[in-house]
Every structure is written in structure tokens, then in C-alpha cells.
């Protein structure tokens, strides 16, 4: 079987294990995971609860460190970075979307979107421009001043996506992005993510337990009992673009 991807993957996990606790009460959430993800992929991570998929996502997002094993991100040995270095990696390369949106309450949409830029030290005027642009690209050009309480769930998730993409990240981590949304809004959000993946080339790693959401992704990785049970590529649900 020939490898259709460039030789060097964006993400490369080697025999990752993660153990919580120690001694009698130790619990091994991951038991030796190998995974290679290339730039531009849209990967759905699936699995029942307790399977270790959330642990895997946290490790991939550099929010957590593996107990053993190696994690190369663009060739960087992530497992040897300290907390501050991991923060800087997240700041410059990652974007995050959460199930509960996690927008700052009583804060306008544009200020929420500006947040990652503040930590990057972007100037005020540039921050405004980039945030407005990001909100426009998720379809909310007229909601800049609205606070989360004044927005619907779908709109809030769009603001959260704008916040995640405003820094032009290489990789977007989405943790059950449609878990709190109805079917119609789910479709809108998934179409937005698909567009970001295809048009802007953003690599997306998404945790979901819904098959029809996973169908938007070009690849689905199923985790079970701390191991990868299956790793399948498939043709996209829509649009009918081909996997390269």
C-alpha cells in the first residue's frame, strides 16, 4: 500500500501511554498509541466514553503530557517541553473549540475573538481588524458588539470558531463542537469547519461520538480501551471533494 502523504507527518505519536494515579489505584487511559497525522487532514476521533479519546485529544493539544512515548509536532519533541513552552506552542500553532463554547460572559463577540491576539502582543488596531475579519468569515459580520447571552448556541460556537482561527493556527482542536447544538445548526457548523479545512488548509482534529458528524471528516480514528481500534479514510459526506 503506497503512502499518499508527504514523508514527514505534522503529528507523530510513538507508543504513547498515559497513566493516571499510581500503585493500586493506577488507571491506564492510553496503552501505547501510534498515530501519524499530516498537514491538511480532517480527523474525527471517536470512541465510547472512557475509551481514552479525550485523553488522546488533550495530549495532542499539548494540554497534557504523556506518561511514556514520544510526540513529535512538526519535528518538535513535545513531551520534553515544559508548561510554558507548551503554552507558547498552543499560542502560535493551535486553535481550540469546545463543546460548551467557553466564551467569556458579559464580553462582546469581538473582544472574545481578540483574546488570543492579546496574548500574542498584537497591536490594538491590528487586533480589531483581524477579529472583525475572523467574525466575518464565520458569518457574523454584524454581531461584533453582541455578548454571548445575546447570541444563539450556533452563533456562540461561530464566535468560538472565530476565536480559534483568528491567529491563523496550523491545527484546530475541536472537542465535541456540535454536542450542544441542534441538527440544523450542527450541519452549519460542520460545513464551516469543512470549509476551513479545505479552503484555508487548517488541519482539524475533532472528538465526536456522533457518526453523522464524523462523516464530515476525511479520516476517522476509533479509540477503545486505550488503544486505536480502527483508523479509516473515507470519501467525504459533502462536498464531493476527493482526498488527495
Amino acid at each position: 500500500m503506497s503512502d499518499p502523504y508527504p514523508p514527514r507527518p505534522l503529528i507523530e505519536l510513538g507508543q504513547i501511554t498515559k497513566t493516571y494515579g499510581s500503585g493500586e489505584t493506577a488507571f491506564q487511559a492510553l496503552r501505547g498509541v501510534d498515530l501519524r497525522i499530516h498537514q491538511g487532514e480532517f480527523v474525527a476521533v471517536m470512541g465510547p466514553s472512557g475509551s481514552g479519546k479525550s485523553t488522546l485529544m488533550n495530549l495532542l493539544g499539548c494540554l497534557d503530557t504523556p506518561t511514556t512515548g514520544s510526540y513529535r509536532y512538526e519535528g518538535i519533541a513535545v513531551e520534553s517541553l515544559n508548561a510554558d513552552q507548551r503554552s507558547l506552542l498552543r499560542r502560535h500553532a493551535f486553535g481550540f473549540i469546545f463543546q460548551g463554547f467557553n466564551l467569556l460572559a458579559r464580553t462582546s463577540a469581538i473582544e472574545n475573538v481578540e483574546l488570543p491576539l492579546i496574548y500574542r502582543g498584537t497591536s490594538r488596531s491590528e487586533r480589531r481588524a483581524l477579529a472583525a475579519e475572523a467574525l466575518a468569515s464565520v458569518g457574523l459580520p454584524d454581531k461584533l458588539r453582541n455578548t454571548p447571552a445575546e447570541l444563539s448556541g450556533g452563533q456562540q460556537q461561530r464566535v468560538a470558531i472565530a476565536r480559534a482561527i483568528v491567529t491563523s493556527p496550523v491545527t484546530l482542536f475541536a472537542d465535541e463542537p456540535t454536542g450542544n447544538l441542534d441538527t440544523r445548526t450542527t450541519r452549519e457548523i460542520m460545513e464551516l469547519l469543512t470549509r476551513l479545512n479545505e479552503e484555508d488548509g487548517i488541519t482539524i482534529l475533532m472528538v465526536t461520538h456522533e457518526d453523522d458528524v464524523a462523516e464530515y471528516a476525511g479520516r476517522s480514528v476509533v479509540v477503545k480501551d486505550g488503544l486505536i481500534e480502527s483508523d479509516r479514510f473515507r470519501s467525504r459526506h459533502q462536498p464531493a471533494a476527493q482526498v488527495p
Partner: protein, 404 residues
């Protein structure tokens, strides 16, 4: 990074202005009370000093009694005699003027009005020594004093309260046992921390003894007031007067003085040191309320960190470093306490302006205590903001994001 933290902190505070206000209320009250106490205390000290200097400069007072100030004891100590006054006048150099004072509280009657007033029997020099100026009429003269005429010079309060504000000159008022003609009204000195100086009637010493009280005693002088000559050393004068009086009162070398000799400077020092002690005490109590205000900030910041755990998780996830989260919460606490400090200063200015008018002391703005108060309130912010900020910075991003 610090500007970023300040920017984020200000944005956070703007999100919940009501809570921010309630949080800083303790600091506002604390700072305002410290500044008000200290400022008013200093104003009172200043007022006392002004009052003392209005008593007359170079004024030396001799009084019977043991000790001076709070521990003074005068019971059973003999008064002075007129011959003591003459002895000081003739034997000591550098005395510009000297006046014996015999004070009596006597009932005074004018028509249907009656009241009790402190009546001073003295000689003509008394007015000059004590810085009195005449408002209308005249002081009594040396010959009035010698002959013991029934004349008196009265203060403005007596004019207002006994004579009902009528023109006083030539009126006869009954003082003690005899009527007296008013020949002069003293220029008002005003209310002071030492009581109403204008509530006084001054009569010749002989008049007081012979006519108004009606009994004479050789020891009836309760005070001797002396004005020192310009340029003379009051410490030397006090020393000379002390040894002369010890001799005249037959005190043995192992006995303590049973009289006091002091000048206005000593009165001023004693009174200011007691008002300053009071000021310090009140400021310390007010300082405790500032500390309580700081604890209020810590309390709210701890609640805020718990309440905003998910937000902290988001900040960490999008790339905030632990020290940036620490700085954010620290700056929030310091901003709260500094804003509270500034508001407290404004409140204190209003309070001081109002109260100083009310208690009739001069309002002195002291930049030092205001600077100290604002620095102290910032210190309170750092001190009490640190624990919550460190708690926020130590959060694990995953746990923080999962927090409900």
C-alpha cells in the same frame, strides 16, 4: 506583558462594575478614614498651636501645683502672695511685664440676666502680657488698680450673653457682692480647643479682693503671668524664677517644686503631643479597617478565581502562560485596591473639608499621608491578591476546562 495584564484586568473589572465597587468599598472606607483621622488630627494640633500663640509670645506662667500636665496635683499647695510678684519684678532681669492673676468663678447679674463667669483680678499689665486688644472703651489703668475702683473690662461672650448685645460701656453689672461699671470690651479671640477665651471679666486685683469677694488673704494669687523681654532666654528666666520661688516658699533641697514655671512653648508641646498621640491612635484604628478592606478583596478574588475557572482554562488553552494568569489576577487585585485608594482620598478630602469647617479647625492638605495611603492600599492589593492569583496560575488547563 505588564501592560497586557493591565489591559486584560481592566476589561475584566469592567465586566462586573457593581461587584468591583462593592469589593473596593472596604478599601475606600479604610483609606478615607485613615486620611481623615490624620488630616483632622494635624489640623487640631495646628489649631491648638495657633491658639497658644494667641495667648502671647514670650509668656511665662507661674502656677502653684506639683507636676505639669495630666499628673498635676494642686490640692493643698499654697497660692502666691503679692510680695512674690514684687520679688520677681525687682530681683529678676529680663522681665518686661508681670501681672498677678486671681481667678474666681462669680455670679454676675445684669437686670434680669444672671450667669456665672470666670472673673480675673489682676493689674493693668495683664492685657498686654496676654495679647488682649481693646474692642471699645479702655483698659483699666494702674491708678484704677491701685485705688481698687469698681470698674471692669469684659469679653465679647459676656456682652452677648449677659448684656444681650447692648452697648456695654458705662453699664453697671453686679459681680459677686458689688456692682461694677463696664469701661471696656475686649476684642474677641474666638472659640478654641481650650474653651471660650471671651467668656471673661477682668477687674483690678484689689477690686476683686475688697469689693467683689469681700475677704482678703495674703495668699490669693493663683497664677503669675510674666512677659519676657524681647531676646531674653526663657529657659534662663524659668531657671531664675524657679530658684527664687523655691527660696521664697522655703523649699528644702530634697523637696520637689510645689509650683510650675512654664512658657507658651511648653504648653504648645504638651498639648500637641497629646493630640498627636490621639491622632496616631485613631489612624491605627482606621488602618485596621483598611486591612479588613484588603481581606474583602482577597475574599472576592478567591470567589472570582473559582467562578472563572473555565475562563482560566480557556486562557491557558489559547496559550496564556501561568505567569500571565498570575499577573492578570494580581493586577486585577492591585487595580481594585488602587482605585479604592484613589476614591478613598477623594472621599477623605470631602470629609475633611466638611468636618474641619464643622469643628472650626484649619484644613491642611497633607500630600505625605495621601501618598502613604495610596501606596499602602496598593500594597494591600498585592498582599491579598497574591494568594488568589497563585491559585489561578496553578490550575491545570484540563481540570479548569472541565470545571462546572
Amino acid at each position: 506583558m505588564i501592560w497586557n495584564a493591565l489591559f486584560i484586568a481592566l476589561r475584566e473589572l469592567r465586566r462586573n462594575p457593581v461587584r468591583a465597587f462593592l469589593t473596593v468599598l472596604g478599601v475606600i472606607i479604610g483609606v478615607a478614614s485613615v486620611i481623615t483621622m490624620v488630616t483632622l488630627g494635624q489640623a487640631t494640633t495646628q489649631a491648638v498651636k495657633n491658639q497658644i500663640s494667641s495667648l502671647g509670645s514670650n509668656l511665662i506662667t507661674v502656677r502653684p501645683g506639683m507636676g505639669f500636665g495630666p499628673r498635676a496635683a494642686s490640692a493643698g499647695v499654697p497660692n502666691f502672695m503679692e510680695s512674690d510678684v514684687e520679688a520677681i519684678s525687682s530681683q529678676i532681669d529680663g522681665v518686661a511685664a508681670i501681672a498677678p492673676v486671681s481667678s474666681q468663678s462669680l455670679s454676675t447679674i445684669y437686670r434680669q440676666n444672671a450667669r456665672t463667669t470666670s472673673v480675673v483680678g489682676t493689674t493693668a499689665d495683664y492685657f498686654e502680657i496676654n495679647n488682649w486688644t481693646i474692642g471699645e472703651g479702655r483698659f483699666f489703668s494702674a491708678s484704677d488698680a491701685r485705688s481698687g475702683r469698681a470698674v471692669c473690662v469684659i469679653g465679647q461672650t459676656v456682652v452677648d450673653n449677659l448684656l444681650g448685645g447692648e452697648p456695654a460701656i458705662g453699664k453697671k453689672i453686679r459681680i459677686g457682692k458689688a456692682p461694677c461699671e463696664v469701661i471696656g470690651v475686649l476684642q474677641a479671640k474666638g472659640q478654641s480647643g481650650m474653651g471660650d477665651q471671651d467668656d471673661t471679666i477682668v477687674v483690678p486685683l484689689t477690686t476683686l479682693q475688697r469689693r467683689l469677694v469681700g475677704k482678703t488673704s495674703s495668699r490669693n494669687i493663683s497664677q503669675i503671668t510674666i512677659s519676657a523681654e524681647e531676646g531674653s532666654d526663657s529657659d534662663v528666666l524659668i531657671g531664675e524664677i524657679t530658684s527664687l520661688m523655691r527660696h521664697r516658699r522655703n523649699l528644702q533641697s530634697n523637696e520637689d517644686d510645689d509650683f510650675n514655671v512654664f512658657d507658651t512653648r511648653q504648653i504648645a508641646d504638651t498639648l500637641s503631643s497629646s493630640t498627636q498621640m490621639m491622632t496616631t491612635l485613631l489612624a491605627a484604628v482606621a488602618g485596621v479597617s483598611l486591612l479588613v478592606g484588603g481581606i474583602g478583596i482577597m475574599n472576592i478574588m478567591l470567589v472570582s478565581v473559582t467562578e472563572r475557572t473555565r475562563e482560566i482554562g480557556v486562557r491557558l488553552a489559547i496559550g496564556a502562560r501561568a505567569r500571565e494568569v498570575l499577573l492578570q489576577f494580581l493586577v486585577e487585585a492591585v487595580t481594585l485596591s488602587s482605585v479604592g485608594g484613589l476614591a478613598g482620598i477623594l472621599l477623605a478630602l470631602l470629609l475633611c473639608a466638611g468636618i474641619s469647617k464643622l469643628i472650626q479647625v484649619p484644613f491642611v492638605f497633607d500630600p505625605q499621608i495621601n501618598t502613604v495611603a495610596i501606596l499602602f492600599s496598593m500594597g494591600v492589593g498585592i498582599l491579598f491578591g497574591f494568594t488568589p492569583a497563585r491559585r489561578a496560575a496553578r490550575l491545570d488547563p484540563i481540570d479548569a476546562l472541565r470545571h462546572e
